[in-house]
């Protein structure tokens, strides 16, 4: 087998060095009842690279990939152009096949990257400190709620109806057996401000509130000013947690930090990472200096070596499971290292100049398409202030429309019916995302197909 360096001769020599009769002698502790004498049945035997490649390529060919069609799907994952340089860098063996930098003297490459990543995320979100990544946006959000509980020593979390329903569900799952209390607000397709329940949330905050969780831009693409809500939270001693699922938006709209957020969590996939059918993605987590010791996840910090040279190490590990065990701030160990590297490389290529340009481009293109689609008879543009994503209200249920569009080889967005199967008042909603990767021809194809389907 091509990945196994030992030859039969090696194995024999090694067994005799060890003083074992045969390989079975090394498995003595395995009980009779569980002892397998031959390869497990029901699975194929080893296969040449050429054939594995052929089989998997055939599977891949059964999927309709974003780059091959007019594509407008978002709702938490976005198709942006990732420069070829990014993939080249993350495939450097020294990055790809390293481990968590537990031996800093021979891991400065990874450590400096993490330090730079933390710095980039902090600035992008407008916060003071960011960690070295979480699994994804949804798990980061849950960790934020738990962190708020530790900081405020309160149990009640108010969840905006504008939060991605999958994120809200993850929080529900993780709190169902704990004594955290969730107050979930219902999403409304209010024209002009869908899912905007900030006033209600502000009104709902009280002395028992640990935190309020809002998403901006929210699931319907709506962009809001969070400052008033932040004030309300702080007045009541609660924390404002802001979720950002399209991180590119922060190149165009005011950062959560600037609007008063205490914790910012986000999905970093948009920068440097592909769609990958949902994973691996990149959980971003940023907060204020004063709360850093309650943060989950790894942190990289600056220090000096024995010669006084600047260097970097993992630090504040007393928060973490491998030191603190059941008292740790989180159980996370493996995070999203390589995705963080990809994010950092892409953001370095962009720089502030490129990021602002990219964001402006996304926004302008979205505005263009929104206005075109809004003119289709029976179609209502529900979201009027947005970044690169907006919600349309169709004259009919959106879910079948999306399927019909796909039959016409147009991937035309996400129906609210798929995200909120039960919720009748949302069934006609369609979330449309527009990035720099959609061409004018794609716009035409989408408009024509939608016209067609609705006709």
């Amino acid at each position: 087998m091509r990945y196994l360096p030992l030859t039969p001769a090696d194995r024999t020599a090694m067994l005799s060095t060890i003083g074992a009769l045969d390989i079975d002698a090394l498995f003595v502790d395995v009980p009779e009842s569980a002892w397998l004498t031959r390869p497990i049945a029901g699975l194929p035997l080893h296969s040449p690279e050429m054939l594995v490649e052929r089989e998997l390529s055939a599977l891949a060919a059964q999927n309709l990939h974003a780059g091959s069609v007019p594509f407008f799907v978002g709702a938490g994952a976005y198709k942006h152009h990732v420069p070829a340089t990014v993939d080249h860098i993350i495939q450097r063996g020294e990055f790809l096949t390293a481990y968590t930098p537990y031996q800093p003297e021979i891991a400065q490459g990874t450590l400096q990257v993490l330090f730079e990543f933390q710095s980039q995320v902090a600035r992008l979100t407008g916060m003071e400190v960011a960690n070295a990544s979480m699994y994804d946006g949804s798990t980061a959000m849950t960790e934020a709620v738990f962190m708020a509980r530790r900081v405020t020593r309160r149990q009640k979390a108010l969840v905006s109806g504008g939060v991605h329903p999958h994120y809200a569900n993850v929080l529900k799952t993780l709190t169902q057996f704990t004594d955290d209390e969730l107050v979930n607000f219902e999403p409304e397709l209010t024209p002009g401000r869908p899912g905007d329940d900030l006033a209600a949330l502000a009104a709902g905050v009280d002395a028992t509130t640990s935190c309020v969780i809002v998403q901006n831009p929210n699931i319907f693409g709506h962009v809001a000013d969070l400052a008033p809500l932040a004030d309300a939270c702080h007045a009541a001693g609660a924390l404002l947690i802001v979720v950002v699922t399209e991180i590119v938006s922060l190149g165009a709209i005011r950062s959560p930090g600037e609007m008063g957020a205490d914790i910012v969590v986000g999905e970093g996939q948009s920068i440097g990472n592909g769609l990958n059918f949902g994973g691996p993605y990149l959980g971003l987590f940023a907060c204020r200096d004063k709360h850093v010791r309650q943060m989950p996840g790894r942190l990289c910090g600056e220090t000096v070596d024995a010669d006084g040279k600047r260097g970097f190490v993992l630090t504040l590990s007393t928060r973490e499971q491998h030191i603190r065990r059941e008292k740790a701030t989180s159980n996370i160990c493996t995070n999203s290292g390589l995705c963080a590297l990809a994010f950092s490389v892409h953001l370095t290529l962009l720089g502030e100049k490129g990021l602002r340009h990219l964001a402006a481009l996304n926004h302008a293109r979205a505005v263009q398409l929104a206005e075109r689609l809004g003119r289709i008879p029976g179609v209502e543009l529900v979201t009027t202030r947005f970044f690169n994503e907006f919600t349309l209200k169709l004259p009919v249920e959106a879910r079948p429309v999306v399927r019909k569009l796909a039959d016409a080889r147009v991937l035309g967005g996400v129906s609210l019916g798929r995200l909120y199967p039960g919720v009748t008042n949302l069934q006609n909603g369609l979330i449309v995302a527009v990035t720099e990767s959609a061409s004018d021809a794609d716009f035409d194809a989408f408009e024509d197909a939608l016209d067609e389907v609705l006709a």
Partner: protein, 525 residues
């Protein structure tokens, strides 16, 4: 953003002073060992490494919420970006450079075929929410991988969405919790052996259990008597690692599982060490109820710098109904991904404890893991376990006459060899010093000070992808280091000497944390 760190900017008039900032050289470089400043010192907010189409001129819809203040994100041209990261990468050790014997981490070869397959547009460029009719190949891949995992473990159900081992533990412990609640049982105690990985107690606590430790016995295994003694109506589950973190197989696991079940509790098995037994033992045959599989360990998906991982969890029949959403099932028109509460009535998941993650799990890792499994096949995977165990025992045999091997007298080890630093008593040197000496020799050190049950633990896991030559060199070097340490301890108190950095001051780092680049901009803010 200034130019320090890469040699003084030359004053074209006047000479650079004779004493050299970098020490031996003006630049601080040492031939191919290159220093690299921070991105924030190199880049500029006016620099970029991308070209983008012009922005169409439309009136914006940001309602006055546009970002006006400076962000402070430095950019670099493409050539500078490539160089920045390439130079940094060279300050890392990696599997591609040599053996990476971190015990408990299963750092094995990452085949490049898997990287190629994961990048096929049909896998890498599909959206988790596009219509299911357009991703049947992806669902097929997930279903096939699930079949492999269930078959290899002998368990009837698997949850694919957990994003890493610890997340898988969470998944398993939530399912147990759901199963208990379903029968109205409020037990909250989880028993965890003291040798367990930190994620086990952390996970239990994370979902509201109370944790109690179970001691290890003199043979490095769970002390069965104390475990059985502690069982009772308040115990919800036992979290046990097999092979355990001492690199030893738990011989009494079947008996333990029976007892735990008899006591109305469940057995969560930490499967991080599955590499030692894959193809030779099916955990299902041992009686466990749930076990996560670190695809990024046993099945070789790369996780450079700390991630990403993937931690699918296999379940016994007792826990299967409580598995999380989403899951893939056959439907009249192909495969269906069941995502929502409402959607799955009448399925065998009607007790699902719900969703753990925004989408469907680590597709990128699934592709790599399946490519790895298909390449090995059932026969190759069995060989993997055998070679992994053979390599570990070869190291044990090669070192145990010098290095203290606390459990060597209890028989062979599994996939990793455990040593303590007792043999260094009197030298004032410890496991840490030995690890740093290995760095100078061109090796990544073993896992240090874990598990906690032995003093100055050194846990060496070579994995099956190391050649005999590689092991011989490691053994030779470690014997040489040990011998020299005993002969001349002082020579080793400040290793490493040849790495890009000497020992780093971790205390200072923690006392006054500097967790990001701060400059004028931040000062202003």
């Amino acid at each position: 953003m200034t130019m320090n760190m890469i040699g003084r900017v030359t004053r074209l008039s006047g000479e650079p002073a004779m004493e050299l900032p970098g020490g031996v050289t003006f630049t601080g470089n040492k031939a191919l060992m290159l220093e690299e400043p921070l991105l924030f010192e190199r880049g500029g907010v006016d620099r970029t490494g991308v070209d983008l189409p012009p922005v169409p001129d439309v009136s914006d819809r940001l309602a006055g919420l546009g970002r006006s203040a400076a962000i402070g994100l430095p950019g670099l041209s493409e050539p500078e970006t490539v160089r920045h990261y390439t130079r940094l990468s060279r300050q890392n050790y990696a599997i591609d450079l040599g053996i990476f014997p971190l015990g408990s981490c299963t750092m094995k070869h990452n085949p490049r075929l898997n990287e190629k397959m994961a990048r096929l547009p049909g896998f890498a460029d599909i959206h988790p929410l596009q219509p299911q009719s357009t991703v049947q190949g992806a669902l097929q891949l997930i279903d096939t991988l699930a079949h492999w995992l269930k078959t290899l473990t002998g368990m009837p159900e698997v949850a694919m969405s957990p994003k890493a081992g610890a997340h898988g533990e969470l998944c398993g412990m939530l399912a147990i919790r759901a199963a208990l609640e379903a029968r109205g049982d409020a037990r909250k105690i989880v028993l965890v052996p003291e040798s367990a990985h930190g994620t086990n107690p952390a996970t239990a606590a994370f979902c509201g259990y109370a944790v109690e430790n179970i001691p290890a016995n003199a043979r490095g295994r769970v002390d069965v008597d104390s475990l059985l003694a502690r069982l009772g109506p308040d115990v919800a589950a036992v979290m046990i690692t097999n092979p355990n973190t001492c690199g030893l197989f738990e011989p009494d696991l079947v008996q333990i599982c029976d007892a735990v079940h008899a006591a109305g509790a469940f057995v969560y098995c930490d499967g991080a060490n599955f590499n030692a037994i894959v193809g030779r033992v099916r955990p299902g045959d041992l009686g466990v109820d749930a076990m996560h599989i670190n695809l990024h360990k046993t099945f070789s998906t790369p996780h450079g710098g700390g991630g990403p991982g993937s931690g699918p969890v296999v379940f016994s029949a007792a826990l299967a109904p409580f598995a999380p959403l989403p899951f893939v099932r056959k439907s009249r028109d192909g495969l269906e991904l069941v995502e929502e509460w409402q959607a799955h009535q009448s399925s065998d998941h009607d007790h699902s404890f719900g969703r753990m993650v925004a989408f469907h799990g680590q597709m990128g890792m699934f592709v790599r893991a399946l490519a790895y499994m298909m390449s090995h096949g059932a026969d190759g995977l069995r060989q993997v376990a055998e070679d992994a165990v053979l390599n570990a025992n070869y190291i044990l045999a090669g070192l145990q006459d010098i290095y203290t091997a606390p459990f060597a007298d209890t028989g062979p080890c599994m996939h990793e060899a455990l040593f303590s630093d007792d043999f260094l008593d009197g030298t004032g040197l410890t496991t840490l010093d030995l690890a740093k000496a290995m760095i100078d020799e061109g090796f990544h050190p073993m896992t240090m000070y874990f598990p906690l049950v032995v003093h100055g633990a050194m846990l060496i896991e070579p994995t099956e992808t190391e050649s005999k030559a590689s092991l011989d060199q490691l053994i030779g070097a470690m014997r040489s280091i040990a011998t020299r340490m005993l002969a001349d301890p002082d020579a080793f108190r400040s290793s490493p000497h040849l790495a890009p950095r000497r020992r780093l001051d971790e205390t200072a780092a923690a006392r006054k944390p500097v967790l990001g680049y701060r400059d004028a901009l931040d000062a202003a803010a």
